[in-house]
């Protein structure tokens, strides 16, 4: 177990290092001059040069990268004009465009992304695993076919269409809910939940077809296993067989895929966040890319990498918990 954790830790460090190098390298070729953008459209060359110096862009890429690493481990100081601000380690730098500390920016936006991701997780687990179970129980029948078509419709519709349809139906046409605007959980848990309901649904539905199919097939596969025959031969009812025994077979793959999806969602579900106005990391990332805001892009990418790795570890642990035969090493 200790070996396992140590190995994953080393792996995580490697992943993050590789990611940051890769993003720096990619940015080297991305068009757009951050200094010009930060300066404004009608800047003269002298002003642009000043801004460039201020952002530290006149240095070579390599030395910029070293400073970035230094910030992560030791923190950095920045001038606001009127004074110095210390950006504590792990300092991901200062946004080129908004002068905000990237670490603070990410911390500010993480809760929204986490809210979205976790809630969507619940939806796809409920809807996906639920319909998967139902179609396993009713396999071959019309129920299964209808469910399959419905869940596939969710997957085959891009979220920017699906989400808008939901908004139009629920908020505009039926007016069951007001149009969602993000309310932080800490501010008002009830409002938070109501306002996140549609984004969760849209994203959850988009993902749930996968889980429905996964659950269905895992359940069917487990039902074909020998131990199910044992319990059938001892008079256990079919429904109990599914819920008590076969469902367990579906748990490990659902956990594994969920964890991976959840991890990658921490880089943000861009389209969902934009459509529902959720101030999350996905939008931050896209804005960063559009504004050639390297520190923001590197920061968000690293957070995403971290969560991908964490999700992997979490999945391993959950899998080991769900299936005692698994030994982590």
């Amino acid at each position: 177990m200790t070996t396992y954790l140590l190995r994953r830790l080393a792996g995580a460090a490697l992943v993050l290092l590789a990611l940051s190098v890769l993003v720096y390298a990619l940015f080297y070729v991305v068009p757009g001059d951050p200094a010009k953008l930060a300066c404004g459209e009608r800047c003269n060359p002298a002003q642009i040069a000043q801004v460039r110096t201020r952002l530290g862009l006149e240095e070579g890429v390599f030395s910029q990268y070293l400073h970035f690493l230094q910030g992560i481990f030791a923190g950095r100081d920045y001038s606001t004009g009127t004074g110095l601000v210390h950006c504590d380690a792990p300092c991901l730098g200062l946004s080129y465009q908004t002068d905000q500390q990237v670490t603070a920016l990410i911390l500010e936006r993480l809760p929204a992304t986490a809210s979205l991701a976790l809630g969507a997780l619940v939806v796809w687990l409920l809807v996906g695993v639920g319909t998967g179970l139902l179609s396993a129980l009713r396999r071959g029948g019309p129920t299964e076919r209808i469910l399959t078509v419905l869940t596939l419709a969710g997957t085959g519709t891009p979220v920017f269409i699906l989400g808008l349809l939901l908004l139009m139906a629920v908020c505009a046409q039926l007016q069951w809910l007001p149009f969602p605007s993000y309310v932080p959980l800490g501010e008002d848990p009830e409002q938070w939940a109501w306002n996140m309901l549609l984004p969760w649904t849209a994203l959850g539905l988009f993902e749930s077809a996968k889980y429905a199919r996964l659950t269905r097939s895992s359940v069917l596969e487990t039902l074909a296993e020998d131990h199910i025959r044992t319990f059938r031969a001892y008079g256990v009812a079919e429904r109990t067989l599914v819920t008590r025994h076969a469902l367990r077979g579906a748990v490990p793959p659902v956990i594994a895929i969920s964890a991976v999806d959840l991890g990658s969602m921490f880089g943000g579900a861009v389209l969902t966040e934009s459509l529902f106005g959720i101030p999350g990391l996905g939008r931050t990332l896209i804005e960063g890319v559009r504004r050639v805001d390297l520190p923001v892009v590197v920061g968000v990418t690293l957070v995403m990498g971290l969560f991908v790795v964490l999700a992997g570890v979490l999945a391993d642990l959950l899998h080991a918990a769900a299936d005692r035969r698994v030994v982590l090493k």
Binding site: L19, T157, P158, F160, R216, E221, D261, V270, T301
Partner: protein, 325 residues
């Protein structure tokens, strides 16, 4: 290497058979599979014959018809059903009056091409990485696993924009999309291949191949690849429609195909706001996309069942790059 990746994938239960004829015989008995195959075939044919059909119907997918749209009302087509008429069977595009039917067919060319091309690339990379991870040492395996993590976390948009900037002008945009989607979306495939390989390599017939004194590469090619075909092919059936949606999302983010070339994704992303004023404009590309998703899923399931009767119900689910959110 992480166990996560092993969990969702079944240990290779070796299929009883794998001959093409038997697969076909099993497929033949499934009407849904046949219908799906027919639908997909029809789509491919329609896409391939798009220029011919355009010529036959006398409609150019790029020709503007300003007289068919109501300029004062945002360019909404005159008439019901998105301006459907004898000339324009499925109506015209708002704003431009371009013929929707031919645009959908031309769009199918790009969408299918990009999706299939990206899938091929994903499968190719996934196979190589998965095999290397499965057959290599623990060290290689761990390294490749981390590389997969990196790829999952790397934002597709960044790569798309960087690549756009690097490639020479005139580089075909569909190919660029294939590269972007393909280069970032192989994680799922490699995980499946790796898990299958790990399971397979301990099977006796793979060990037996060593006794013949042949090298590893030949063993991988002759013994492993055929056994990987079933899971990989069926996974591809899931990847193709997923990639169409990814293409749509990239279009929506502004890095799709270049106009005036249509693609389903490009059409969907411009159609987004139109579904009240001109529902046909949204429903048509959505419908085509949905039919493709449905047909390839059903066919994929059926092919897998046919290839691997014992593994019938096992579904491989993608953790491909998710940009569709």
């Amino acid at each position: 290497m992480t166990l996560v990746t092993d969990a969702p994938v079944p240990v290779a239960d070796l299929p009883a058979t794998g001959t093409a004829r038997q697969v076909w015989r099993r497929l033949r008995t499934r009407p849904a599979a046949l219908a799906s195959a027919a639908v997909l075939l029809l789509l491919v044919l329609l896409a391939a014959a798009a220029p011919l059909i355009a010529a036959l119907t006398g409609q150019d997918p790029y020709a503007y018809h300003d007289d068919l749209v109501d300029s004062a009302r945002g360019g909404v087509p005159y008439g019901p059903f998105g301006g459907a008429s004898a000339d324009h069977w499925l109506g015209v595009e708002p704003g431009t009056g371009r013929d929707l039917f031919t645009r959908l067919l031309y769009g199918a060319r790009i969408s299918l091409l990009v999706a299939v091309g990206a899938t091929a690339l994903q499968i190719l990379i996934g196979l190589l990485v998965g095999l290397a991870a499965g057959l290599g040492s623990r060290w290689v395996d761990g390294l490749l696993g981390r590389a997969t993590d990196v790829l999952v976390a790397l934002p597709m948009l960044v790569l798309a924009i960087a690549l756009t900037a690097v490639v020479p002008r005139g580089f075909p945009r569909p190919l660029l999309l294939v590269l972007v989607i393909g280069l970032l979306g192989w994680a799922g495939t490699s995980r499946i291949v790796r898990a299958q390989t790990l399971a397979l390599k301990n099977l006796d017939f793979v060990a037996a191949a060593r006794l013949a004194g042949h090298g590893r590469r030949r063993t991988a090619r002759r013994e492993l690849l055929p056994a990987l075909a079933a899971p990989v092919l069926t996974y591809a059936a899931i990847l193709v429609p997923a990639n169409i949606v990814v293409e749509a999302s990239l279009s929506f983010l502004g890095v799709g195909v270049t106009p005036p070339t249509p693609s389903w994704g490009q059409m969907l992303s411009t159609a987004q706001t139109w579904f009240r004023a001109d529902p046909a404009y949204v429903l048509l590309p959505s419908g085509f996309l949905f039919v493709t998703v449905l047909a390839s899923t059903v066919l994929g399931d059926a092919v897998r069942t046919a290839l691997d009767p014992r593994e019938a119900s096992r579904l491989r689910v993608g953790t491909a790059k998710e940009t569709g959110r």
